[in-house]
């Protein structure tokens, strides 16, 4: 179906669906190039609905980079919601891009971004809606090349049957190398196999079909090996040694989406070393943007978009070297423009309140803090040292300086956690609200978000077990019971979704059959509470002869081969093991910007570390110690 036929069908379909503005494109700052005069056609797909996908920063970055090239164009597609999907299937309309309304089959390359595992079934659904065979092995050079990246790519094994090549790590540089190869393959008419071999030679690219996995008889992975001579035994992620200028031509949607804002990464990476944290391990080393680079890009993006909200993104904003200068600059420069500025992940200390006070405009919501744990023992286990008194003092400051709501994030189900550790969370929350009551009386509110720990690949807790559902429920019930008071609100994760996330995030290649079976039986939009169907997944596990216990609650030995052991974030397995032992022994390790813990990042990216003093990685020289 060509784009004219698609347009004709849309005329009938769109008036019948909810929020048709999701499916038409035409937004400010979209890029529509002349199809016939551009040799390379690429598309990026965020496999959830427009409202969720449009604000994704990864897509925004790659869209700008690809469209800067004269020889390539990049368009976008998102998943249709159920009503639109039904109408499209009924009318035979394939998944199409918002820019040219062309079917995705017309493109040379389709890139999926996969930031979380519960998007997997949507990828299969997207491939099917495009009209492609879902298995990589059934596609050839007449089909678009399917590439995926994002945080889940650090263990892509469950999706390895469906995706032709994965990109590990940051995409800013590698995307151009991939495009060059795909363009050459197109003009040289290379076979799909030849192209995949070429792609595997690019650092940071992983072609799963060129690797084989052998299993022990009990199902554990025995080994993962390249199928041919000359292929790397292990693939290391890509990084950009110095952060490039951030994107400033954000697409401004015509409808309301989840985040209507300019997002700027002020830094990438984190040195805190919280042991459960995937982002903190896979995004090393720490790299900052300069205050000038950030403020100038905001200024430019404001002119380009007219957005009224700015989000300064990082994993640990308080660690940004010039945080005080940055917020002062922003509040001076953008004062009186009715803008709101958000700054996540602030340390629990009163300095953070000073910082937020500078950014606070005419409107302000809650003040968010993430203590994660409430007892000293758990804090030592996860390596997040926070004193209860410091939290209470910070809360006092927040309530007395104009905020009426504090949001606290905790995580239950960490290794060795007892019901007493959870009771301490409830006690601490009550103490915090009590501080608020003292200052502003009944106006004080406390929202508590309680997530459940999921062991993630490439973290010190990759060997840990998922807490059984019975005790998770018991802990959640305790909190629900005790945090039910005026001024208190609590949210928690669905423990069944947690089980699925756990299986998918540490899964091996055999999980691919489970994802396919679940999708064939109707699973999609698994990240949506009202769409998630646990039974379909459990049936699919049964059908594949697999158990959730094997993936989530089985004890893994320290020397077990992990399904992702051939993929490297630069952080060594030795470091992760040391940190796991330190956790179980209740030992804190310091912030590694003060003392190198030899995580492996520096040698993994040897020669890439910039040598100038104004841009550096916050990795102290181990020899200085």
């Amino acid at each position: 179906m060509n784009h004219l036929e698609i347009n004709k069908k849309l005329k009938y379909i769109l008036p019948t669906v909810v929020k048709p503005g999701r499916y038409y494109g035409g937004e400010l700052n979209h890029v529509l190039k002349d199809w016939d005069n551009i040799p390379l056609h690429t598309a990026l797909v965020f496999p959830d609905i427009y409202d969720i996908g449009l604000p994704n920063l990864g897509v925004a970055i790659l869209y700008e980079i690809i469209n800067k090239r004269n020889d390539a164009l990049c368009e976008r597609a998102y998943m249709p919601w159920l009503d639109m999907e039904a109408a499209m299937r009924e009318q035979g309309v394939p998944l199409y891009t918002l820019e040219s309304h062309r079917s995705l089959t017309d493109f040379d390359l389709i890139g999926f971004t996969l930031p979380y595992e519960t998007l997997y079934t949507n990828v299969l659904n997207a491939l099917d809606l495009i009209g492609l065979p879902i298995h990589s092995s059934e596609r050839n050079e007449t089909h678009p090349l399917i590439i995926a990246g994002g945080h889940t790519a650090f263990n892509p094994e469950p999706m390895s049957e469906f995706i032709d090549a994965f990109v590990l790590g940051e995409g800013e540089e590698v995307v151009n190398e991939i495009l060059d190869h795909v363009k050459n393959a197109k003009s040289a008419q290379l076979s799909r196999q030849q192209l995949l071999r070429e792609l595997q030679a690019i650092p940071g690219v992983y072609v799963p079909s060129l690797y084989r996995v052998d299993y022990h008889s009990d199902g554990r992975v025995h080994s993962i090996d390249p199928l041919e001579e000359g292929l790397p035994k292990s693939i290391t992620k890509r990084i950009v040694p110095v952060l490039p200028d951030p994107p400033t031509h954000f697409i401004v949607p015509n409808i309301d989406v989840v985040h209507n804002r300019i997002a700027v990464e002020i830094m990438r990476g984190c040195t805190r070393g919280c042991r459960f944290c995937h982002a903190g391990m896979v995004n090393r080393p720490v790299r900052e943007r300069s205050v000038k680079q950030i403020v100038d890009s905001i200024e430019e993006a404001l002119v380009n978009t007219g957005y009224e909200e700015i989000a300064l993104l990082s994993l640990s904003s308080s660690d940004y070297t010039h945080i005080d200068e940055l917020v002062t600059d922003i509040s001076d420069r953008f004062a009186g423009r009715n803008l709101s500025v958000s700054l996540p992940s602030l340390r629990i200390e009163s300095f953070s309140v000073n910082i937020m006070e500078k950014l606070r405009g005419a409107r302000h919501g809650g003040f968010t803090l993430a203590p994660e744990a409430a007892t000293d023992r758990m804090r030592a286990l996860i390596n997040k040292p926070i004193q209860a008194e410091q939290l209470l003092e910070t809360a006092r400051q927040i309530y007395s300086r104009g905020w009426t709501t504090i949001k606290l994030y905790f995580m239950i189900g960490q290794p060795t956690e007892t019901i007493e550790d959870v009771q301490a969370i409830a006690d601490l929350c009550k103490e915090v609200l009590k501080e608020g009551r003292k200052v502003i009386g009944k106006k004080a509110n406390l929202h508590t978000g309680v997530s459940t720990f999921v062991p993630k690949p490439h973290t010190p807790f990759q060997w840990a077990t998922l807490e059984p559902i019975e005790s998770v429920l018991e802990k959640q019930n305790l909190l629900k019971d005790q945090l039910r008071a005026p001024g208190m609100k609590m949210t928690w994760s669905n423990p069944r979704e947690t089980i699925l996330e756990s299986v998918l995030s540490r899964g091996d290649r055999r999980i691919g059959a489970v994802i396919e079976d679940a999708w064939r039986h109707g699973a999609k939009f698994d990240a949506w509470n009202d769409q998630f169907n646990f039974n379909v997944w459990m049936d699919a596990m049964d059908a594949a002869g697999l158990t959730t216990d094997f993936y989530s609650s089985r004890t893994r030995e320290l020397d077990e081969v992990m399904p992702w052991d051939h993929l490297s974030t630069g952080v060594s397995r030795g470091y992760l093991e040391r940190e796991y032992r330190n956790a179980l022994a209740g030992r804190f390790t310091p912030d590694c910007r003060t003392q190198c813990l030899s995580c492996g990042i520096v040698p993994a990216f040897e020669g890439q570390q910039p040598q100038t003093s104004d841009v550096h990685w916050f990795c102290p020289d181990p020899e200085v110690l």
């Binding site: 005329k11 769109l14 008036p15 048709p20 035409g26 015509n254 309301d256 404001l302 007219g306």
Partner: protein
């Protein structure tokens, strides 16, 4: 302080965008153009902007009106130049005019609205022509919308078919006064035409003559 009325066209890119979203689109357009709107008073100050009567989803328009208030002393030409540079795709600015500050809200002074409906070859023009004649002759045309009965005929000011136009075209003019607003989809339905099978363009907006 000045009050400015924008006459603009709304094109295909925005045909599925409703009034609330359009309001936000204009707010951002003013930000990009660096035109500082006056804000309303109160706890949640909002930029002062009024839109005339909403355009149904799926339609395009030659005549949309929007009033805004700003403190700037810039000329209309200057304001227009700034807006044109950064307007959302699908909006085409036709003209800016000044309006007395105290003149009534835009949404209360639209008297009637005209539409052109373009018919492709799948439609039976004789049948439609007969139904139009019937409707024009009738004194009443009782219909129900959202459970409430009303007389469509009393809201219909003009209705005619031009079968020789390429493509064939229905022209209609409907009352748009508060509490007495005719909807073009309702007229089409009365004529047995699915609104999905035609292109509808709003062509005119008649304002009440103010003393």
């Amino acid at each position: 302080m000045q009050r400015v009325r924008i006459h603009y066209r709304k094109g295909e890119e925005l045909q599925y965008i409703g009034n609330l979203d359009l309001h936000r689109i204009w707010e951002r357009t003013f930000r990009r153009a660096q035109i500082k709107l006056a804000y309303s008073q109160g706890f949640h100050p909002q930029p002062r902007m009024h839109q005339a009567c909403p355009l149904p989803l799926g339609f395009t328009s030659q005549v949309e009106l929007l009033d805004f208030w700003c403190d700037s002393e810039e000329s209309l030409a200057e304001l227009q130049e700034k807006l044109v540079k950064t307007v959302q795709p699908g909006i085409e600015i036709v003209e800016l005019t000044n309006v007395p500050l105290k003149s009534p809200p835009l949404q209360t002074i639209v008297e009637s609205v005209a539409y052109n409906v373009f018919l492709d070859q799948s439609h039976d023009l004789d049948d439609i022509s007969g139904k139009i004649e019937e409707l024009n002759k009738a004194d009443h045309c009782m219909r129900e919308r959202r459970g409430k009965p009303y007389d469509l005929r009393s809201l219909l000011l003009k209705l005619s078919l031009d079968p020789s136009a390429q493509p064939a075209m229905i022209t209609m003019q409907l009352s748009a006064l508060p509490g007495a607003t005719g909807r073009p989809e309702e007229v089409l339905d009365e004529l047995g035409i699915s609104p999905f099978s035609v292109d509808v363009v709003r062509t005119d907006m008649v304002l009440i003559t103010l003393p």
